[in-house]
């Protein structure tokens, strides 16, 4: 299943990127090679021979809308700060770095930009007042975009994983003490009546049950950081009972089901931050939907595990 979803994500992103880029090119969305009409205002007493002259760039909203065929609601601002630069290739017009530009200029700015991230283009028409500016041609934005996103998130993924090192070490260390002190076994006795039916494959006194209890408790209380090490440790215990190295057992799927259905007795900190005290009204709907999700998760884990295909792949069959 994961094979198909994963390949599907990659293939469909490629097809969509290509499709979007082709339609952009066909519609000439970025008007490659054609001058965008601009009006330049110079400061008083400027030196026309200078290599660099500050200017104010005005773009008529109506001309902009017809030029790029955009919605009038994405109109450009009244004026933009910028400067003219004399280069060997001619006069360059640069928008000051950090200006917020309307689409599609913002996208063009990502491609046609100077070293300092300023949107830049070649000035055409009679200087110094000029009539238009031509940007570098923009092609295959989405295709570049998905490649950039992939590289970016590969880095993010490694950062997330390595960012867990400290918390993982802390809680795995505490768990080792708990194991040696017999806390886990005491917990197993406590939760056995509730959890045993969900994990019939486990021997009655198996330490995994205690770890699962810790994992679920931390999850319910919104302590995601503490819950993860407990869950991982529980998975390791389950893996010890697994006859296969790389195939999930029914117990593992059940533990995952309990974790993916997030019953949160305490609303997520993130929501609290976004919605403030309004969250109070939502606490019970959140708990209620979470419990429904949990019931569905347990039922589905049990039911799907009985399907012939999944039963055949069960390593503990």
């Amino acid at each position: 299943m994961l094979n198909y979803i994963w390949a599907g994500l990659i293939v469909s992103s490629f097809l969509f990127a290509i499709g979007n880029d082709a339609s952009d090119l066909a519609r000439d969305r970025y008007r490659n090679g054609q001058p965008l009409p601009v009006v330049l205002t110079f400061p008083q007493g400027y030196d026309s021979a200078a290599r660099r002259v500050p200017v104010e760039i005005r773009i008529d909203p109506r001309q902009y809308a017809t030029f790029y065929q955009t919605d009038p609601s994405v109109a450009p601002a009244a004026s933009y700060p910028g400067y003219l630069l004399q280069t060997r290739e001619g006069t360059q017009l640069r928008f000051a770095a950090g200006t917020t530009l309307p689409e599609p200029l913002a996208t063009i700015g990502k491609v046609s930009s100077s070293r300092d991230q300023e949107l830049q283009g070649r000035l055409v028409g009679p200087a110094p007042t000029a009539s238009g500016v031509v940007f570098e041609p923009v092609r295959f934005v989405k295709l570049n975009g998905i490649a950039a996103a992939a590289l970016d998130f590969a880095k993010t993924a490694a950062e997330i994983a390595l960012g867990l090192v400290g918390v993982l070490s802390l809680f795995l260390g505490l768990l080792k003490i708990a194991e040696h002190a017999g806390i886990i076994y005491a917990l197993v006795k406590l939760v056995r009546p509730v959890l045993r039916p969900l994990f019939p494959e486990l021997p009655p006194d198996h330490p995994a049950l205690g770890l699962i209890a810790l994992n679920l408790t931390a999850n319910c209380l919104g302590l995601g950081n503490a819950a993860t090490p407990f869950g991982i440790k529980a998975m390791e215990e389950l893996q010890k009972l697994n006859r296969s190295a790389d195939t999930a057992t029914n117990s593992m799927v059940m533990l995952l089901a309990l974790n993916t259905a997030g019953v949160q007795l305490v609303p997520p900190v993130l929501l609290l931050g976004l919605l403030g005290l309004q969250i109070n009204q939502l606490v019970f709907p959140i708990i209620g939907s979470g419990i429904c999700g949990l019931i569905v998760a347990i039922t589905m884990a049990k039911l799907l595990g009985r399907l012939p295909g999944y039963r055949a792949s069960d390593p503990n069959r």
Binding site: M1, F16, L174, K176, T260, I279, M300, Y310
Partner: protein, 180 residues
């Protein structure tokens, strides 16, 4: 009701300190060499983190590409009429699609919806309850199965997604019932 909530809130504040202090203290009482045990266990932290990297990279880069290509928006638009049949407003659909894939992405959707529809709107409430009652299924799968090198996940993905779907539909219905 309020006292139950207050009790839960208090409990969640005390759980981590209780584990941090309680485990070593109980260990001492049981004459466990607590420092040595701690270090022995903590050693695994780095290996576990490194072990999940390939799984996390695989999942996250594919999802990032999917989002950057515009395919995710398309999927949301294509599914809207179908889900409208079960009372699912099209505005909260992006939430339903992105929630199992990325936690930060779905939080971004809540932020975006607050800007668009206002904090008090029923749509924001629906999205918030959906966010609160489900988990980032693919991330959880990558981390938990990655840590023990499980590659054949069997029915884990369908179970997680069906549970997410059920919780989300219930979330929409409940919010409509309470605030609609």
């Amino acid at each position: 009701m309020n006292s139950i909530r207050a009790a839960i809130g208090l409990l969640s504040i005390f759980v981590v300190p209780l584990i941090l202090v309680g485990f070593p203290l109980y260990g001492l009482y049981k004459r466990v060499p607590v420092y040595e045990s701690f270090v022995e266990g903590a050693k695994e932290g780095f290996q576990v983190a490194v072990r999940i990297i390939p799984y996390l990279v695989a999942i996250l880069f594919a999802i990032a590409m999917f989002r950057a290509s515009g395919a995710m928006d398309f999927l949301a638009r294509a599914l809207a009429p179908v889900l409208g049949l079960i009372g699912f407003p099209p505005e909260v659909l992006p939430m339903a699609i992105i929630r199992p894939l990325t936690g930060s992405g779905s939080a971004g959707i809540v932020v975006d919806m607050i800007k668009q529809y206002g904090e008090d709107s029923i749509l924001v409430k629906m999205a918030a309850v959906m966010f609160g009652s489900t988990e980032t299924t693919f991330y959880v799968i990558a981390v938990y199965f990655g840590a023990i090198n499980i590659r054949k996940t069997r029915h884990a993905v369908p179970v997680g997604l069906i549970a997410d779907g059920a919780a989300m539909i219930i979330a929409v219905w409940t919010v409509r019932l309470l605030f609609g």
